[in-house]
């Protein structure tokens, strides 16, 4: 029996709306990710809590448990590990600015993402310089991804842009807050 034309049109329209709904749901999810990250970073002036929030964001919203969060040495020549998880913290304790991919990202202030969105030959997936305006005050290095995360997605790149600014501002504020109480 031949399907009436109007019924076919209704089915096609239904499929189209279902696809649109799925797309909107995904967009909402992406926006929620960014909102949650910004909210968590802005919610504290405690240095350790900011570092903890960055770790949680990378683990739970990006999908990596191999991360180093670096601060900048006073003479601005070295990245110094402030917090890490899942990496060799002795080997990666300090990195010279300008040296290797991590050091180069710190020197340029530009986010590095491996071309494939997966760990490269040095097991680096992304380097996110933390910037206050044009000054780099630290860096987040992401190494391996979780086993079920095949590669970085577009939303992860948006998340890196957000982290570059908001994580930097939160860490900077936390440092100022600590100094204020130390001097009081």
């Amino acid at each position: 029996m031949k399907m009436p034309r109007y019924l076919k049109e209704v089915i096609e329209e239904n499929n189209r709306l279902r696809e649109q709904f799925a797309l909107v749901e995904q967009q909402n999810s992406n926006l929620a990710n960014l909102y949650v990250a910004a909210y968590q970073l802005a919610g504290t002036v405690d240095h350790a809590t900011v570092l903890q929030s960055i770790q949680e964001i990378i683990a739970n919203l990006v999908g990596s448990e191999e991360v180093g969060i670096y601060g900048m040495s006073d003479d601005r020549t070295m990245l110094v590990l402030a917090r890490s998880f899942g990496i060799d913290e002795v080997r990666l304790a300090a990195i010279k600015v300008g040296e290797g991919k991590i050091g180069a990202a710190a020197a340029s202030g530009e986010i590095y993402v491996s071309p494939s969105g997966t760990p490269d030959e040095e097991n680096i997936t992304a380097c996110i310089p933390l910037r206050i305006e044009s000054e780099v005050i630290g860096l987040i290095a992401i190494f391996g991804l979780l086993v079920h995360k095949p590669a970085l997605a577009d939303i992860d790149r948006d998340m890196f842009d957000l982290l570059a600014i908001h994580a930097a501002t939160s860490l900077y504020c936390a440092t100022l807050h600590e100094e204020r109480f130390a001097n009081a």
């Binding site: 799925a22 749901e25 995904q26 909402n28 999810s29 929620a32 990710n33 909102y35 949650v36 990250a37 909210y39 968590q40 929030s53 949680e56 964001i57 683990a59 739970n60 919203l61 990006v62 999908g63 448990e65 979780l146 086993v147 079920h148 995360k149």
Partner: protein, 124 residues
Amino acid sequence: MITKKKILIVDDSQTVLLMEKMILSKGPYTIVTATNGEEAVAKAAAEQPDLILLDVVMPKMNGFDACKRLREQELTRTTPIIMVTTRGEESNVENGYASGCTDYITKPINAPELLAKLRGFLGE
């Protein structure tokens, strides 16, 4: 009138709790939270949720042990439990099922996937 289903979210990470609350808050759900396995077992008995989202790595009592305890409790013996884990390895998933979970989902959470699972278990 839509009857809201109650969901217990268990995670020690405030980031994840906030994320999951945001995903679910627009749906017909009442949200209850706990931040470790012990609290989850107590809250599940008191609140009798329709479904539990359970993290694995938590202080005091991990998700696997909490899941076993929930299955021992009469009130939560058949409550759907979805394990939410960063560890997607097969052995970890097997441990989840062995402890009595109904299903699992990996972090980073994919909202459409989570909502689809909830709709399936809650018969929406």
